[in-house]
């Protein structure tokens, strides 16, 4: 299972790096046209390619015209013109509703929500309209060309409204896909897949990594498959599942655990819905233990869905309860952020208590 997903990636191979981030391309295998790129630049490249390869692709949202508050849309308006890359009024429900209409006409509408924390005014449009557009019309209409991008997650000082991880709300909605990349190279390929996927997709970008994550990213057009999880570190004692920025934290925990003789298998889920149960199940059948980690509050977080599904499938194989190392059930705090977060030491503690159950 793990090698299948590695093989199907095609052009690039990702292995655990010693650089401290969960993915990097093996230098020997990488094509010549590859450059050291950070996350926002990788996303920027994906957007350039999306607009260049499809004349009916559009990028819009608050402040995207000058390059965006995180620079993800730099250069797009200059290159493709203001009728394809444009600012919208400050109104999330309008941004997404407009995007649905644009997508319903067969265009690729890439809508930006400035922070995931502000996506809620658009929740009705996403849940009641975008997600049901195809189904309710008997497939006479669809808005598959819609992709919603939003920066999510802790940034060190974001507090309540610049740090949220709202993915769980969207994972409960049949009809949309939810995708979260862990690194620049992953983000570019996944975003291009999301934009080209014939279903509406919500793409959460880990803002912590916008500048911080740097790796070799191919400069050409490539896509990574959706709904395929990836084993980014092989192990035999316990399976760890996560997504986005959390993976690098989990990876550090895995390295520390290894020093104590615990062999950890680390999986990047990548697509949260529809999610790849087979890869996770296959790994848990091997290790007998599962730990899930996410920044979002633990209660009702997506870890609960993974836990319930795996327990259904692997009950007799499990050696210990499924562990969840997640955010606390509080609004995202400012000075207390280091206490709130599912940090490496919490993960390591949980790995050890699961092993010693």
């Amino acid at each position: 299972m793990a090698t299948t997903s590695l093989r199907t990636i095609g052009r690039s191979v990702c292995r655990v790096s010693r650089r401290g981030f969960s993915t990097s391309c093996d230098d020997k295998l990488v094509q010549p046209s590859s450059k050291s790129t950070n996350l926002y630049s990788a996303i920027n490249q994906a957007l350039h390619i999306a607009l260049e390869t499809d004349p009916r692709a559009y990028v819009f949202g608050e402040d995207v015209g000058f390059g965006g508050v995180f620079r993800c849309t730099t250069g797009l308006a200059d290159r493709f013109g203001k009728s394809r890359v444009f600012n919208t009024p400050l109104c999330e429900q309008g941004i997404i509703g407009f995007g649905i209409g644009l997508a319903a006409m067969g265009n690729r509408a890439v809508a930006e929500i400035q922070f995931a924390d502000y996506i809620y005014p658009a929740f009705d449009q996403i849940v009641n309209e975008a997600a049901k557009f195809r189904y309710r019309s008997g497939n006479q209409f669809n808005c598959g060309g819609l992709t919603i991008r939003a920066p999510y997650g802790a940034v060190g000082h974001g507090g309540h409204y610049h740090s949220q991880s709202p993915e769980a709300f969207f994972c409960h909605v049949p009809g949309i896909k939810v995708v979260i990349p862990r690194s620049p190279q992953q983000a570019k390929g996944l975003l291009l897949s999301c934009i080209r996927d014939p279903n509406p997709v919500v793409f959460f970008e880990p803002k912590w990594l916008y500048r911080l994550a740097v790796e070799e990213v191919p400069e050409y057009d490539y896509m990574l498959p959706l709904s395929e999880a990836e084993v980014i570190r092989e192990g035999s004692d316990i399976t760890l599942v996560g997504w986005g920025a959390q993976l690098s934290v989990m990876e550090q925990a895995c390295l520390d655990a290894e020093k104590e003789g615990i062999s950890c298998e680390l999986i990047d889920l990548k697509t949260l819905i529809p999610w790849d149960k087979e890869t996770i199940e296959s790994s848990v059948r091997k290790t007998g233990r599962l730990l899930i980690s996410h920044e979002a509050p633990v209660t009702g977080g997506f870890g609960a869905e993974i836990s319930a599904s795996i327990v259904e499938r692997c009950f007799l194989r499990l050696e210990a309860p499924v562990a969840r190392v997640c955010g606390l059930d509080t609004p995202f705090p400012l000075v207390f952020e280091p206490f709130y977060m599912p940090t490496k030491n919490k993960i390591l503690d949980a790995i050890k208590s699961t092993i010693n159950y």
Partner: protein, 380 residues
């Protein structure tokens, strides 16, 4: 220091062409309608009126689960549709089946959707009256209020970018104008400069909520200026006024790349739906007055008769024919089986993902084990 008053000195004027007796008002400017179009408009209004009566009865008899009539708003439905071309995209609320009727949706197709049978284009997934037709450029109805307004703006932007000689029209009620999506859509439409007609059916009621509980402005038309949108108020029971206004709006929308807001003043004669009894919140004589003295169908009939294009023989023949066709359509629709169970799982995504394939398999096993708990007219 001068505050702008909360209300204008006088209320916005209301454009009218026909008086209450269906006679042309002397100095009114209007877009002429020839005999063929006028007669089609009239027959479609009568068909809509008759369809409402027959389908409402069918719900009362338990043959369909739900229905909502368009009584009192026949002129809005038909005349606005008549002023557009089939290339113009329609984003309805749910009280505009007449637009579909004008474009050629058949009585059988309406009935099929209401019965949710195998021939329903919506595949039995939604309640009755949630029509949709991609062939006729009529986006599928959703019960959520005003959510279609921003969609219309995005679609209109697409038309503009593709340089199409077409516009979008989107309908909503007085209640819908209070939703955030109304504000979002009008603002976006003005800023993006899109060819969109926003058609407000101000029929006085949002279920039981009268307009006095809905807003404090002079109706909906005045909001246009707040967004930089050109607007007009028309008599919603005057087919010729609606026809002219929509015709003009369409030209402006397309040639000037701008949105237009039309507020049609009318009255919802019927109950909100078959789940409502409006006599509980408004006087019966008010309803009956609007039903008879202000019937838009009768008013238009007077005008076409005064032109010699209609007579009472044609009237009774039409009404009898349509009624028979409707009863037949219902009988046929009732006998057609429901869509197969597989349609429950299709179209959630373009291709069913593994979790749905698994659920379909398990559901099949469950139903086969205990078929007595499941409706027999849905095949596995």
């Amino acid at each position: 220091m001068r505050f702008i008053s909360e209300s204008p000195e006088e209320r916005a004027q209301c454009y009218r062409v026909l008086d209450n007796d269906g006679q042309l008002i002397m100095c009114s400017n209007f877009k002429k309608v020839g005999e063929e179009i006028a007669v089609k408009m009239y027959t479609d209004m009568v068909t809509l009126q008759t369809m409402d009566a027959v389908f409402y009865e069918a719900q009362r008899q338990g043959r369909i689960s739900f229905y909502a009539t368009t009584i009192g708003e026949e002129a809005i439905n038909i005349a606005s549709a008549a002023a557009l071309t089939t290339d113009d995209l329609v984003f309805p609320q749910y009280r505009e089946p007449g637009v579909l009727l004008w474009r050629g949706f058949t009585l059988q197709e309406f009935a099929n959707q209401c019965f949710g049978n195998k021939a329903d284009y919506g595949k039995g997934r939604q309640m009755p009256i949630h029509y949709g037709s991609n062939k006729l450029n009529y986006f599928t109805v959703s019960a959520t209020i005003a959510t279609q307004l921003p969609h219309a703006v995005g679609a209109a932007y697409s038309l503009k970018m593709d340089r199409r000689n077409a516009c979008v029209i989107t309908y909503f009620g007085d209640g819908g104008s209070s939703e955030g999506d109304f504000h979002a859509a009008l603002n976006f439409a003005a800023v993006m400069e899109v060819p969109a007609i926003f058609f407000c059916r101000n029929n006085g009621w949002a279920i039981s909520t009268p307009t006095s509980d809905q807003f404090r402005s002079d109706g909906v038309v005045v909001r246009g200026r707040g967004y930089g949108v050109r607007s007009i108020r028309v008599d919603g029971n005057d087919a010729l006024a609606i026809y002219s206004a929509v015709h003009a709006a369409r030209e402006m929308a397309i040639s000037e790349h701008r949105p237009i807001l039309i507020e049609a003043i009318t009255y919802r004669v019927g109950h909100h739906s078959t789940s409502d009894d409006s006599t509980k919140y408004r006087p019966v004589d008010e309803i009956e007055w609007w039903r008879s003295a202000r019937d838009p169908v009768a008013r238009f009939r007077k005008w076409i008769e005064s032109n010699g294009w209609w007579c009472s023989e044609a009237e009774s023949e039409l009404r009898n024919n349509v009624r028979e066709q409707l009863l037949h359509a219902i009988q046929v629709a009732e006998k057609i089986e429901k869509p197969p169970l597989a349609e429950l799982f299709m179209d959630v995504y373009d291709v069913p993902p593994s979790n749905l394939c698994e659920q379909e398999k398990l559901l099949g096993e469950t139903v086969r084990r205990n078929p007595q708990y499941y409706p027999p007219d849905v095949s596995l």
